[in-house]
């Protein structure tokens, strides 16, 4: 593994993006009562477990109700 | 001043594949009227309206809006028209106010006018205080917003496609009230298959059946034309009704058409007024009591049913 310090320029923005996406997704889940499939509890769990992008992306692809 | 016709449709024909939907529709809508466009589902009401708006191409015939002809695609006549589709959909991420602003801007209204007019219209339809986005709106709210956006540009003609059919009784009444209020400033053409709506708010009507207008005129005229002389006789006992039906039901010498028919159990309909004395005499002789006897008003429903039978 290269030194952590050297990888920091990559890690920091990735973490920031993750956090933004996570907050945005959770806000979206909590402000909506209906989902294409699944329930609120399910999507919160999925989003938190798959925090590294995959959870939120899954939610927006499969769970988000069409506007 | 000479009264002009806001909409003149003549010889309109349209075919979808095998199905001939319109077979020469003739329709004239005079100014400042509420015009009911009646017909069964699938009679061709929506098709006629969509052709008027340039959303469909006619196979034959002409459509004139305020004297200018309308055609398929970009039609300039749309500037005269406000349109409320049967199931209106909006950009759900906007609020009603934003949506009206958007509508006003694409119509090219001046900014100041948009603001005052939007507020006025939203108040008219009872959405003045609504700050939520359209996403969460009910059918009735969407329908009302639809009227607001349709009236925004002060159209000469407001076309509403089945504005009440998907609504509950309360929602329906709200829409009808709004339409009556809108009558002050525009001509309204609205399609429906609900006849009571027509009776409530329309001045004139046309009946479309099987792709043709089978009846057209003011509500009174239409009713007068079909005024029936029939009597409704409701009897105290249902068994008496059966007896009378046995005696008079066949018609004399079995030649004439039935003069007495069953309307509902216990209620008979006398078609031939000249038979009245005879019937009454029979009832008196046989001590048959009646609960009610009255001249039957032709309802639009009767007229409608009769017209589409032909």
């Amino acid at each position: 593994m290269p030194e952590l310090k050297e990888m920091l320029p990559f890690i920091i923005p990735i973490v920031i993006a993750e956090v933004i996406l996570l907050v945005y997704t959770l806000r979206h889940i909590f402000t909506h009562d209906h989902y294409k499939r699944g329930s609120r509890a399910l999507w919160v769990v999925v989003t938190l477990v798959g925090m590294e992008f995959i959870g939120p992306i899954l939610y927006f692809l499969l769970g988000k109700e069409d506007a | 001043m000479h009264k002009m016709n806001v909409l003149e449709i003549s010889g309109l024909e349209k075919r979808f594949g095998e199905k001939q939907v319109l077979r020469g529709v003739e329709l004239t809508v005079p100014e400042k009227k509420v015009y009911g466009f009646v017909g069964r589902n699938g009679a061709g009401k929506t098709t006629t309206m969509k052709i008027t708006l340039g959303l469909l191409e006619a196979d034959a015939g002409t459509v004139k809006v305020c004297g200018e002809s309308a055609h398929y695609g970009n039609t300039k006549t749309n500037r005269f028209i406000g349109y409320l589709p049967d199931v209106p959909e909006y950009y759900s991420f906007m609020t009603p106010m934003e949506y009206l602003k958007f509508c006003g801007e694409i119509t090219g209204l001046p900014a100041k006018e948009i603001k005052t007019r939007s507020e006025e219209m939203l108040r008219l339809v009872g959405l003045g205080e609504e700050k939520r986005r359209i996403k969460g709106f009910s059918r009735g709210m969407k329908q009302r917003l639809g009227i607001a956006q349709a009236l925004l540009g002060r159209p000469k003609l407001l076309i509403c496609d089945e504005p009440t059919s998907a609504l509950d009784p309360l929602g329906r009444k709200e829409i009808l009230d709004v339409l009556v209020a809108a009558k002050e400033e525009t001509t309204i053409l609205f399609s429906t298959h609900v006849l009571s709506d027509v009776e409530h708010i329309c001045d004139e009507m046309a009946l479309l059946n099987d792709g043709k207008i089978v009846m057209q005129g003011s509500i009174e005229d239409v009713k007068k034309k079909r005024r029936s002389n029939a009597m409704e006789i409701e009897l105290e006992k249902a068994s008496d009704a059966e007896e009378m039906l046995r005696v008079f039901g066949k018609g004399q010498q079995n030649k004439e058409p039935q003069m007495l028919t069953v309307l509902r159990p216990g209620t008979l309909l006398l078609g031939e007024p000249s038979m009245q004395p005879e019937i009454l005499r029979y009832m008196a002789d046989h001590e048959i009591a009646f609960a009610r006897m009255e001249k039957r008003e032709a309802t639009l429903e009767d007229i409608f049913l009769e017209a589409i039978k032909e």
């Binding site: 593994m1 290269p2 050297e6 990888m7 320029p9 990559f10 923005p13 990735i14 993006a17 933004i20 996406l21 945005y24 979206h28 992008f53 927006f60 506007a67 | 708006l53 340039g54 959303l55 469909l56 695609g73 970009n74 749309n78 500037r79 028209i81 349109y83 589709p85 199931v87 209106p88 959909e89 909006y90 950009y91 991420f93 906007m94 934003e98 958007f102 509508c103 801007e105 694409i106 119509t107 090219g108 956006q149 540009g153």
Partner: protein, 254 residues
């Protein structure tokens, strides 16, 4: 038309599409230098298995070129994402019936289509240039500032044009199709046809696929003039697609 563009913008921001696109494009942009940076470590990990098979690896050197190689290798992902996002740009509105009201309000169909084109093309241009390219560029300069890279920008712009070409197809099919799936299918079929045509050596330099070979330009195995025919065919195709779209959209049932 301004109003319609404003509506497009509002839609992008309020539905969160823009946020998602930005995050994805930034991620794609970061990935390239990050993978380049990690290459020595990956090689180290796999050293044994590679040496077992008889190869000997010397010291792996990573430079700006490694990062740009990744850039071209991964550039299909931003294209794919923007295509997926744009496939519903018109079809969603057909399905919901929202355009009917816009048309009956008197906005001409051409202005609607033009607005859609502007918003799709602008989204792609800004996201690709500012985020995908921009992020990779900043990182690459930061880590390997001393490396000289030849003809970098030309290659970048070629790939951008390739994206524009695909989006022109997406918009063209959007005027015919009824749903996003059909748009993707149509675009996919044209892509496949071009892909097979690309096996004909004589055609290669005319096809838009050539525009993806910016790396060869940077490495010097292709010259600027090798791209000219493809540049011309692609630009002409974009314009022609646009014109056909306008004609079809004018006649389309909404």
């Amino acid at each position: 038309m301004r109003a319609f563009l404003k509506k497009e913008w509002m839609e992008m921001t309020r539905t969160g599409k823009l946020l998602i696109l930005c995050i994805l494009f930034i991620m794609f942009g970061i990935m390239n230098p990050a993978i380049a940076k990690l290459t020595p470590w990956i090689m180290e990990m796999m050293k044994e298995s590679i040496e077992e098979s008889g190869f000997v690896i010397g010291k792996v050197t990573v430079n700006a070129m490694t990062s740009w190689t990744q850039y071209y290798k991964n550039a299909f992902m931003p294209v794919l994402v923007i295509v997926l996002m744009s496939s519903g740009v018109l079809t969603n509105e057909y399905q919901s019936g929202t355009l009917v009201q816009v048309v009956t309000k008197g906005l001409s169909r051409r202005k609607i289509l033009l607005s859609k084109m502007i918003s799709v093309y602008c989204t792609w241009t800004v996201l690709y240039m500012a985020l995908y390219f921009g992020v990779t560029y900043v990182y690459t300069i930061y880590f390997w500032s001393e490396d000289k890279v030849e003809d970098l920008f030309a290659g970048i712009i070629f790939y951008w044009l390739m994206g524009m070409f695909i989006l022109a197809l997406v918009l063209l099919f959007s005027t015919i199709a009824n749903n996003g799936g059909q748009v993707l299918m149509g675009t996919g079929i044209v892509y496949m046809v071009l892909f097979f045509l690309n096996y004909v050596p004589k055609l290669q330099k005319f096809l838009p696929f050539r525009l993806m070979d910016g790396l060869q330009l940077t490495m010097g195995s292709l010259k600027m003039e090798d791209f000219i025919p493809a540049l011309i065919t692609s630009s002409v195709s974009i314009v022609v697609c646009g014109m056909i779209s306008i004609v079809l959209f004018d006649k389309r049932r909404l």
